[in-house]
Each structure stands twice: as structure tokens, then as C-alpha cells.
């Protein structure tokens, strides 16, 4: 399946792009992260410590063990600093 993967804040800066289409058979967010980490050093660096990251699936906060079935948009970002 093809999913849109979005990156924000320092995750975007470390990977070097704000979004990309990714072809994957990953069943969960964690599996997708493992796939991305094997691509290039910049991905490995961005995902080195997933406890420092948050994930949203189709614009809803989720977690790294969540299944990807039916998901179209996956966003990775650091903890939010609004207000």
C-alpha cells in the first residue's frame, strides 16, 4: 500500500523533507519505522529514540503499536508545544 508520511519540527529538519509517499507492507507504525530506519542515516537519526516522538494516524494521535490497515496519512513529530 502507499501511505503519505509527514514529518514536523526537528523530525522534518533531520529527514530533510516535510512529506513523502511511501510504499510499504508494514502492519504497524513500529514496523514502518523499522523500514524507514534502514533507508538512510538521516532516517535512522530521526527515529533513533521513538520515545521522543509522537505519531498521528489520519490526523488523530495514536501510538507506535497501532495497526496501519486502512491508514492513509501517518505523521511523526516531537511532543507538541502549543499555547
Amino acid at each position: 500500500m502507499t501511505v503519505n508520511v509527514l514529518y514536523f519540527a526537528w523530525v522534518r529538519e533531520r529527514i530533510g523533507l516535510p512529506r513523502e509517499a511511501v510504499e510499504t507492507e508494514a502492519a504497524t507504525v513500529s514496523e514502518l519505522v523499522e523500514e524507514l530506519k534502514t533507508r538512510e542515516d538521516r532516517y535512522a537519526a530521526a527515529f533513533a529514540d521513538v520515545t521522543a516522538l509522537r505519531v498521528a494516524l489520519d490526523q488523530e494521535l495514536s501510538d507506535f503499536e497501532a495497526p496501519l490497515a486502512g491508514v492513509r496519512e501517518i505523521a511523526f513529530f516531537p511532543p507538541m508545544t502549543g499555547g
Binding site: L6, F8, A9, W10, A56, Q59, E60, L61, A75, F77, P78, P79, M80, T81, G82, G83
Partner: protein
């Protein structure tokens, strides 16, 4: 004029509060909060606020809905800016209205606590020495547990 607005433009907090207050039939209490860019370290040139268009609006709407479910509000308003903001600029405002003040105060604090760590915004400080992302504070996450 919706009750959730995410925008790059500045806003007139006084005019927004007046407009909001006039629309609150039956409210005996209106509470508002305005957040301002603060130069903590003494070298801040600007704060750059990034957000997640689409999710930002829906996440704030969910937080507003939750506040309305918890307190008997006649209305709630959230305005949050993004983009480059200089020290002294208004970043955001929250207003709540209810028959009585306790509900309005509590709902405003609830909205602020949730906007801090559940609305997808990220702040970057631009100083003379360089730039750096503002780290989320443990106390901001901990603040959610009181609700």
C-alpha cells in the same frame, strides 16, 4: 466567525473578546486568556510556530467539544497563530463563557492545558546565536492529569 481559528495573521484581542461576549446569551461570566511571545533568555528575535494544517483545527475542535461536555458553557473561543512572531506579539487567546465564573475559569484552564500538549504546534526560538526547538515540559504533560 467560528469558535476555532488557526491563522498567521495577528488579531485584536479586545475586539475578539467584545464580539465573543456579545454573542453569549445568558452568560454571567466571561473569562479570557491571551498568550504573548516572551523573551525569556534576553536574546530572542522571534518565535517560529509550525503546525499540522488539518489536524490542528480538528484537534482544537475536539478539545473545545470536551470542555463543553465538562462545563455548562454558553460558548468557547480559541484563536492560535502560526508563523514567525516577534517578542510582545500575541500568540493565542482563549475565551470561555458560562452562567457562573467557576465553570468559565476552569474551562479556560482546561483549554490552555490541552492546547499546550495536545494541539499540533511546535515552537522554534530564533536568537542571535542560532535557532532551537522548544522542548515540551514534563510539567505540561503532568498538568493534564488534574482533569
Amino acid at each position: 466567525m467560528g469558535d476555532v481559528r488557526v491563522q498567521a495573521d495577528s488579531f485584536d484581542a479586545g475586539a475578539e473578546l467584545n464580539r465573543f461576549s456579545e454573542a453569549q446569551a445568558g452568560a454571567g461570566a466571561v473569562v479570557s486568556f491571551t498568550g504573548v511571545v516572551r523573551d525569556v533568555s534576553g536574546g530572542l528575535e522571534a518565535m517560529e510556530i509550525e503546525h499540522y494544517p488539518g489536524m490542528t483545527e480538528s484537534a482544537i475542535a475536539t478539545i473545545v467539544d470536551e470542555s463543553k461536555a465538562r462545563w455548562p458553557l454558553t460558548g468557547a473561543l480559541v484563536i492560535h497563530r502560526h508563523g514567525r512572531l516577534e517578542p510582545g506579539a500575541q500568540i493565542m487567546m482563549v475565551a470561555t463563557a458560562s452562567a457562573h465564573r467557576v465553570a468559565a475559569f476552569e474551562a479556560a484552564e482546561f483549554l490552555m492545558d490541552y492546547l499546550k500538549s495536545r494541539a499540533p504546534f511546535w515552537k522554534k526560538e530564533v536568537t542571535r546565536e542560532g535557532t532551537g526547538w522548544v522542548a515540551a515540559k514534563d510539567e505540561d504533560e503532568a498538568a493534564l492529569t488534574r482533569w
